[in-house]
């Protein structure tokens, strides 16, 4: 078996507060092979972005503590790096695409300057070479007039174009792993399709491993082979996309799926929602965190924490899976 492009083992994150530790990510582990895409889905505030930030090592050093057995890129550990070594890896081996391209780009520099700076920082080279690489990156995401885009300031581009430029920036160093944090949430549906298509294209061409973080199951279904469902900092179910949509095993996954509004010619069924509310991280219920909202919960669900089981590579953290 070959080494996965990204491998995360037993990653946990806590907030340190005066009233004690608040867990936000709880023993998360997964791996993505080169050229594969995996989705991480869950409601807002379930710890998806925290997971991404912890992988990149971008969480603040005070008030938050991170523990992991290992975080590896192509077999090379990045969890135990010091600050300087980590900065050499960020952007070169692992890059991030942000949710809001409008705010993730510096308004006072042109796109060309910003994309070029990323490459120059990690590989250096002559001005000519940097500019050529920058223009190639812009062309590879589908800009025919790369020179015009390079000369433009972020506010002169539309939302979709900004996100494409953001992708060009993330891929200019050809990283092994890209973390896309809600890459299409701020975009309209046609831009969304375009962005996902470009990302898929890059994924196959450069054999990049992509972690899609999204609350949008449609995005995950379109782009990912594997998917993880997260709730209150824990992975509830990990499976391939096909199986999740045809037969979700965890009651929470099933609940999420039933929340997707459907377009149909006949009168659609009323939109359903999962009863109850996401518990506050300061006040997590004992046992399975989903138990209070679960229709299938029984006594042991409220007492013990179910671990991920393994059924032919599909796992669900549930005592009474569907």
């Amino acid at each position: 078996m070959n080494t996965p492009a990204l491998s995360v083992k037993n990653l946990s994150v806590w907030f340190e507060t005066e009233s004690g530790r608040i867990p936000v990510v709880d023993r998360v582990g997964f791996s993505i092979n080169a050229g594969d895409a995996t989705g991480l889905v869950g409601e807002s505030g379930c710890g998806k972005t925290m997971t991404a930030m912890a992988i990149l090592g971008l969480l603040p050093s005070t008030g938050v503590s991170v523990r992991a057995d290992a975080i590896e890129i192509n077999g090379r550990d990045i969890y135990n790096l010091n600050a300087r070594q980590r900065r050499a890896v960020l952007g070169r081996d692992i890059a991030m695409i942000f949710q809001q391209p409008a705010t993730a780009l510096d308004p006072v520099f042109t796109m060309g300057q910003q994309i070029g700076a990323v490459y120059k920082r990690h590989f250096g080279g002559s001005q000519q070479h940097v500019r050529q690489t920058m223009l190639d990156a812009l062309r590879s995401v589908g800009f025919n007039h790369a020179e015009d885009i390079a000369a433009a300031y972020p506010h002169q581009l539309s939302g979709g174009m900004r996100q494409l430029a953001m992708i060009a920036m993330a891929t200019v160093c050809k990283p092994a792993v890209i973390i896309a944090d809600e890459p299409t949430t701020a975009l309209d549906s046609s831009s969304r399709a375009l962005i996902l298509q470009k990302l898929q294209h890059l994924q196959t061409r450069h054999q990049t491993a992509i972690l899609y973080i999204s609350h949008d199951l449609a995005v995950v279904r379109q782009s990912c082979h594997d998917v993880m469902v997260m709730y209150c900092g824990r992975i509830m179910e990990t499976t391939d996309c096909q199986s999740l949509f045809s037969h979700a095993r965890h009651p929470y996954s099933a609940g999420l799926l039933s929340c997707i509004p459907r377009i149909s010619a006949t009168r659609p069924p009323p939109i359903s929602s999962i009863p109850g509310q996401v518990p506050a991280p300061t006040d997590l219920p004992a046992g399975c965190h989903f138990a209070p909202r679960c229709t299938r919960a029984e006594t042991r669900c409220r007492q013990a924490v179910p671990e991920l089981d393994d059924q032919n590579g599909r796992g669900a953290a549930c005592f009474r899976p569907l």
Partner: protein
């Protein structure tokens, strides 16, 4: 960005008027520095208190010196003080404000805020006098006093702006491509405060010229050379005796330049307002 700003500035008649006035004064200052104008400011070229004539357009003063020449030379003095104080206090304020904002609520921030609080709490003219006495009449005492006290306002504004900017996503993005913290400050945070610095710079410039006049009037200012403040100090006796040459020349110049600068600062503030732009 600069082009958009220039377009907006051009469509503002008051701002353009201010710019023209400031430019004319700046040209005069440059001419004085290069020796083309105002060189005879200390020569006695006529009788005392001559009226307006072809040789002495603004008349002469008590000693028979040409008031026009003295006014022109005073322009150069005003610009010299204004530029020096603006550049130094803006650099100092940006640096200290940037560091305080980036490390907000850390020990460095505490020290900078403490220093700022101490300096702000000293009455300025008392402070200027203290510096002048401490430096034994050094000609740079006035400049120094202004630089030491004027950076605090710039630092306060920049600190607030940096705290606002550092929470923005592109700073997170800069970290995500492996840019070290301090480099991020100079590469991405401070460049985003340039529009504020430009406006704040013009305000400091005005304040510096204004303060120079007051300090010179009090005898704490310009030590050698002549300035509008010294001319106004002279005129305080002369006006009672009916000689208005110094008073009108220096007062009108001061008014025109400060008015021009204020109009320009106001127009710049509108033209540079980044918040109008999307993103």
């Amino acid at each position: 960005m600069m082009r958009d700003t220039w377009q907006r500035l051009r469509s503002d008649p008051y701002g353009m008027g201010g710019l023209i006035v400031v430019t004319i004064f700046a040209v005069v200052a440059v001419c004085v520095w290069t020796g083309l104008l105002g060189q005879g400011w200390s020569e006695v070229s006529g009788n005392r208190y001559e009226g307006v004539s072809a040789t002495h357009l603004f008349g002469t003063n008590l000693l028979g010196q040409d008031i026009l020449n003295r006014t022109l030379f005073g322009t150069a003095t005003a610009f010299e003080v204004g530029l020096m104080v603006t550049v130094c206090s803006t650099l100092l304020g940006t640096l200290l404000g940037g560091l305080a904002g980036w490390y907000s609520h850390g020990w460095l921030d505490e020290i900078i805020l403490w220093a700022k609080g101490v300096l702000d709490s000293i009455p300025f003219y008392l402070f200027a006098a203290a510096v002048a006495f401490a430096l034994q009449g050094n000609p740079w005492a006035m400049h120094l006093a202004m630089i030491i006290t004027f950076w605090t306002t710039t630092a306060r504004i920049i600190r607030g702006e940096v705290i606002r900017i550092k929470e923005r996503e592109f700073i997170e993005a800069a970290r995500a491509i492996g840019l070290p913290g301090l480099k991020t400050v100079f590469r991405h945070v401070l460049p985003n405060t340039v529009h504020i610095l430009l406006v704040q710079g013009t305000i400091v410039f005005v304040a510096a010229i204004n303060t120079e006049v007051i300090l010179s009037f009090l005898g704490l200012g310009i030590q050698d050379g002549v300035s509008w403040g010294l001319m106004l100090a002279e005129s305080s006796q002369e006006v009672l005796a009916g000689h208005f040459g110094n008073f009108i020349a220096a007062g009108a110049s001061l008014f025109l330049l400060l008015m021009g600068f204020n109009l320009l600062a106001d127009a710049l503030q509108d033209a540079l307002d980044m918040r109008r732009l999307p993103g």
